[in-house]
C-alpha cells in the first residue's frame, strides 16, 4: 500500500468576516504591507495557509508552454530559485531558510495576503494572529481561503515591495552571485524565468541536460511574436551572447519555420558590459547588416520592475534595444516606471554601461 501524505492537521486562519479590506499599500523594505479596511483601520497580512501555496509553487498554467511545444521546457514549478521556501507540513505555513534566501522578492510578490515582507535580511513570513487574521479553531477551509484570495487579488494597491537603495541593491547582487550561482547550474535560467513570469511574461527555459537544443529560453512576446533568450551571468560569456542568439534565431527560423521578423531576441545578463565593449558594437553591426534588433536586459532591471509592481506585458522589447550609440535601457525603464530608475542600479550596471 502506497502511503498518502499526512493530511494537514493544521488550524486554519482567516480574516474576520466583519472586516472588509479596501486597499493595499506596500510599504517597501522591512515594513509589512498595510491593508486598509472599510472602517479606516489598517491591518497587516498573516499567512492563511493557501492550499495551492502560491509563494512556493507556480500553478501549472504559469509554466505551461502552449506557444512552442517542441521546446524542451523545464517544468519545475518552484517559485524560489534557490529553493529557500518550504511549506511546513505540520503548520501549513511557509518557512524561509535565510541561509538560502537571495532577497529577490519573488515569494513576496506572489503572496495574495501580503503576509511575506522583504527585509534587508531576507524574506520573512508573518504567521502570527492579529486583530484581523484569526485562527479558526478548525482545519483549513479551502473554499473560504479561495474566496479571501480572490477578494485580496482584486484590491487596488500602490507602493513598492522594496526601494532600490544602494546598500540593498549591492546586498542582493552579492547574494545572487554567491548563494544563487553556487546553488545549482540551472540557477541563472530559473531566476530569469521566475522573475519574467512574475512580470507577466510567459517564459520557458530549456530543461537541464537537454543537449539537442542550445536556446536558453523562449517567451511569448505579444501577438504572434515569439521571443528567444540567451541568459549569461558571467561577464565573459555575455560577450559571446550576440552571436549565440543569432544561432538561436537561425534554429527557430530554419527548423521551426518562425519568420525572422516575428522573433524578438533578448539577452539577459547580470550587469551590462562597459561602454567600449565589443558587445554593443556587435549588436549594432547585427542590426545594420541583418536588420535584427537584439534587446538587452539585466536581472537588476527586472528586479527593479518586480519590486515596484510593474509588468512587461505589452511587448516592450523594442524599447529595450541598446547598442554602441546608446548603450542603455534607462529610457525603456523610465517609460514603464514613469520616473527615472534608481541611481543605485545605474552604479551597478543594471541599465547600461558603468564606464
Amino acid at each position: 500500500m502506497i502511503l498518502k501524505y499526512q493530511p494537514y492537521s493544521i488550524e486554519g486562519k482567516l480574516p474576520l468576516k466583519t472586516t472588509v479590506p479596501t486597499f493595499i499599500h506596500k510599504n517597501g523594505l522591512d515594513v509589512p504591507a498595510s491593508i486598509r479596511l472599510t472602517d479606516g483601520k489598517i491591518a497587516f497580512g498573516s499567512c492563511i495557509r493557501c492550499p495551492s501555496s502560491p509563494c512556493q509553487k507556480f500553478n501549472e498554467n504559469d509554466v505551461s508552454n502552449n506557444y512552442f511545444k517542441s521546446f524542451p521546457s523545464d517544468t519545475s514549478i518552484k517559485v524560489c530559485p534557490t529553493d529557500a521556501i518550504q511549506i511546513d507540513f505540520k503548520t501549513g505555513a511557509p518557512v524561509i531558510s535565510l541561509d538560502k534566501c537571495i532577497s529577490c522578492g519573488l515569494c513576496v510578490s506572489r503572496c495574495p495576503i501580503q503576509a511575506i515582507t522583504l527585509t534587508r535580511n531576507g524574506a520573512k513570513v508573518n504567521d502570527t494572529e492579529n486583530e484581523v487574521f484569526r485562527l479558526t479553531g478548525r482545519g483549513v477551509d479551502s473554499a473560504a481561503v479561495a474566496a479571501v484570495i480572490h477578494s485580496f487579488r482584486s484590491l487596488p494597491e500602490d507602493g513598492v515591495i522594496a526601494e532600490c537603495d544602494e546598500q540593498f541593491a549591492i546586498h542582493v547582487y552579492d547574494l545572487v552571485s554567491t548563494i544563487g550561482i553556487g546553488s545549482h547550474t540551472q540557477f541563472p535560467n530559473i531566476l530569469t524565468r521566475n522573475i519574467m513570469i512574475a512580470l507577466s511574461v510567459p517564459f520557458q527555459i530549456r530543461r537541464l541536460g537537454d543537449t539537442n537544443m542550445r536556446i536558453d529560453g523562449i517567451f511569448k512576446s505579444g501577438g504572434d511574436r515569439i521571443g528567444v533568450a540567451e541568459i549569461e551571468f558571467s561577464e565573459e560569456a555575455v560577450m559571446d551572447s550576440p552571436r549565440d542568439i543569432l544561432d538561436d534565431c537561425a534554429v527557430l527560423n530554419a527548423r521551426h519555420a518562425v519568420p525572422l521578423q516575428r522573433i524578438d531576441p533578448l539577452i539577459v545578463s547580470l550587469r551590462f558590459p562597459n561602454k567600449r565593449s565589443e558587445y554593443w558594437r556587435v549588436i549594432q553591426d547585427i542590426r545594420t547588416v541583418l536588420n535584427v534588433r537584439i534587446a538587452s536586459i539585466t536581472i537588476g532591471a527586472m528586479l527593479l520592475l518586480l519590486w515596484s509592481n510593474h509588468t512587461l506585458n505589452e511587448n516592450p522589447w523594442k524599447y529595450f534595444y541598446a547598442d554602441t550609440e546608446t548603450p542603455t535601457i534607462e529610457p525603456a525603464l523610465e517609460r514603464i516606471l514613469g520616473s527615472k530608475p534608481c541611481i543605485a542600479g545605474a552604479y551597478l550596471g543594471w541599465y547600461g554601461s558603468i564606464k
Binding site: L3, R214, D247
Partner: protein, 486 residues
C-alpha cells in the same frame, strides 16, 4: 538510496522498491523523503557493494562532527575525520577523531602532509580523496543543512536547519544491519516495516491507516526493540531499503513497478523534440588545379612549411605519413603557434592571408584572406582552445562576416564564405553541419569549415604535385570542406 533494485531474474531491468514508489509518486516535492534517505546511508553496504572496514553513517557523522567543531567543517576535515573512522558508534573513536581534527585545525600547515600520507596509505591520489567528498558536500548543501562560508569558501557551515537536525540526530536510535543478527525472521521483518514506516512518517506521510498494524508489528519485534533499547520507534534511524536484502524486502512490501501510471508517458510526449530537418550532408569541396607559380619554400617565419618540406625532401616520407607527422607536431598547440601556421598554409596555397594583430579586439576575426573585391574572414580555433571544431566556431564565423560587412575593413560579397579553421573536425558532424545550414537558410551567409589536416594535405599536394586549390575555391564553399582532385 534503495529506490530501485534489480527485477527478479534480471540484472538489466530495475523495478521501483516500495520506498522508491513513494519518491516517484510523491504528490509534491519529495524533498523530505530524500533527506531521510540521505540520513539512511550507512557503510559498509553489501547490497550496493560498498565495502571497506569503516563502519560509518557518513552524512549524520559529518553533521555531528561539524557541531563539535564550532558548527563548521572543511572538506579536508571530512576526509581525515568522518570518512576515516573505524566505527562511528564507539564514543572513544569519535572523541579521538574530534581531538585529532581540533589539532589539525590549530595547525593548518600540516593538513596537506596528513592528506598526502593518507593517500599514500590507501594507494590513491589526494585528488581521489577530494572526489570522495563531492557527494556528501553536495547533498549537505542541497538539503540546506550546510552552506559555504561567505568569505573563505573553505568551511561548510551548519545552517539553522542543519543545527536543529544535528540535535535531533543525537536522540535517534542509530541502528545498523549487524545489530539485527540473532533475531527471528518474523522479528526482523516486523522491525524492517516499522523502520520504513517511521522514515515515511518523518517525511510527512500519514500512518493513520497503519495504526493497528504498527501495534502488531511493535509487538512482533518486541525482543528487537528491548534488546536495542529502543523506547520510541519514531526515532529509529535505519533505512531498510539501503541496508537489507531487496528480495526479502519485496516479500514484505509489495514491489511497485509503476508501469500502469499514465503520467510518465504524458511527460515524455510534452518534452519530445519535433523531428528536425534531415541531417545536412557535408557539401563543400576544394578542387585542385595545376599551378606553375614559384613557391617560396623554407620561409623562416613558417614552422609548418619547414616541417612539411623537411619530412618530404629530407626524410622522404609518403604523403599520408607527412600529414600525420605534421598533425601530431601541432597537437595541443596554443594560438601563438597555431594561428601563424594557418596563415602560412593559406599563403603557401597562394592566398594573400593575414593574421589579425593580437589584442585588436575590434577586428574580431583571427585572419583574413585579403582580396581587392572579395575577402574571406577566418575564425581559427587552436587545439589548445578546442581540439574539435564546434558550433562555437561556426557562430564566431557568422559574427566575423557581419562585422566585416558592417565595419567595411575589407570588401566582401554577401555570398562569400566565412571560414572556420580548427585542429580536427567534430566526431559527430551533424550539429555543425546543421547550424551551417540553419545560418544559410536564415541569413543567406555561407560558413565553411575546414580542419588543419586538410590544409596540411593541400600544402603537401602543392609542394609535391604542383597542384593548388582554384583561386576562389575557399570563397564559394559552405559546410564541412573536403578535398578532392577534380
Amino acid at each position: 538510496m534503495g529506490w530501485i533494485h534489480p527485477a527478479p531474474g534480471s540484472k538489466q531491468r530495475f523495478v521501483f522498491s516500495y520506498l522508491g514508489a513513494h519518491i516517484g509518486l510523491a504528490e509534491s516535492e519529495p524533498t523530505l523523503l530524500v533527506k531521510e534517505c540521505l540520513l539512511g546511508i550507512a557503510y559498509p553496504n553489501p547490497y550496493v557493494e560498498i565495502k571497506g572496514s569503516n563502519l560509518v553513517r557518513p552524512i549524520s557523522l559529518i553533521m555531528l562532527t561539524a557541531v563539535a567543531l564550532d558548527g563548521r567543517i572543511t572538506r579536508d576535515e571530512i576526509i581525515l575525520g568522518p570518512m576515516d573512522i573505524d566505527d562511528d558508534r564507539h564514543k572513544d573513536s569519535i572523541d579521538e577523531m574530534i581531538d585529532r581534527l581540533r589539532l589539525l585545525r590549530a595547525n593548518p600547515s600540516v593538513v596537506n602532509d596528513t592528506l598526502t600520507a593518507k593517500a599514500v596509505d590507501l594507494g590513491i591520489q589526494v585528488n581521489t580523496l577530494h572526489n570522495y567528498t563531492r557527494f556528501p558536500l553536495g547533498v549537505l548543501r542541497w538539503a540546506g543543512w550546510t552552506r559555504p562560508e561567505r568569505n573563505s569558501g573553505l568551511f561548510h557551515v551548519l545552517t539553522i536547519e542543519g543545527m536543529r537536525l544535528a540535535v535531533q540526530l543525537k536522540n535517534y536510535y542509530d541502528i545498523r544491519t549487524r545489530d539485527l543478527k540473532g533475531f527471528t525472521d518474523q522479528e526482523i521483518d516486523s522491525f524492517l516495516q516499522i523502520a520504513t514506516y517511521r522514515m515515511l512518517e518523518r517525511a510527512g506521510y500519514s500512518l493513520t491507516e497503519l495504526i493497528s498494524e504498527l501495534i502488531t508489528l511493535e509487538r512482533n519485534c518486541h525482543k528487537v526493540l528491548s534488546t536495542l533499547k529502543i523506547a520510541d520507534t519514531k526515532l529509529i534511524l535505519f533505512s531498510p531499503f539501503q541496508e537489507w536484502d531487496p528480495i526479502r524486502l519485496e516479500k514484505i512490501f509489495t514491489a511497485y513497478n509503476g508501469s500502469s501510471e499514465p503520467e510518465t508517458s504524458q511527460i515524455a510526449d510534452e518534452v519530445r523534440l519535433r523531428p528536425g530537418r534531415p541531417l545536412t550532408k557535408d557539401g563543400g569541396h576544394v578542387g585542385l588545379q595545376d599551378v606553375s607559380r614559384d613557391i617560396k619554400l623554407g620561409d623562416p617565419r613558417s614552422d609548418v612549411i619547414n616541417r612539411i618540406q623537411h619530412y618530404a625532401t629530407i626524410e622522404h616520407l609518403e604523403l599520408d605519413e607527412i600529414v600525420e607527422k605534421v598533425v601530431m607536431d601541432y597537437k595541443g598547440t596554443s594560438k601563438d603557434k597555431f594561428y601563424p601556421a594557418i596563415e602560412a598554409l593559406f599563403c603557401f596555397l597562394g592566398y594573400n592571408c593575414e593574421q589579425s594583430r593580437i589584442g585588436v579586439n575590434y577586428q574580431r576575426m583571427d585572419a583574413l584572406i585579403l582580396d581587392d573585391d572579395d575577402s574571406v574572414p577566418i575564425e581559427i580555433k587552436s587545439p589548445n582552445e578546442q581540439h574539435f571544431i564546434s558550433v562555437k566556431g561556426v557562430r564566431q564565423a557568422l559574427e566575423n562576416k557581419i562585422v566585416l560587412v558592417g565595419r567595411h575593413y575589407a570588401k566582401s560579397k554577401w555570398d562569400t564564405t566565412s571560414l572556420v579553421v580548427g585542429y580536427e573536425l567534430p566526431p559527430d558532424r551533424s550539429e555543425v553541419s546543421n547550424l551551417v545550414q540553419d545560418i544559410y537558410d536564415t541569413y543567406k551567409i555561407s560558413i565553411g569549415v575546414i580542419d588543419f589536416r586538410s590544409l596540411v594535405n593541400l600544402a603537401i599536394i602543392r609542394l609535391l604535385l604542383d597542384k593548388s586549390p582554384k583561386a576562389d575555391d575557399f570563397s564559394k564553399l559552405r559546410g564541412i570542406i573536403q578535398i578532392s582532385d577534380t
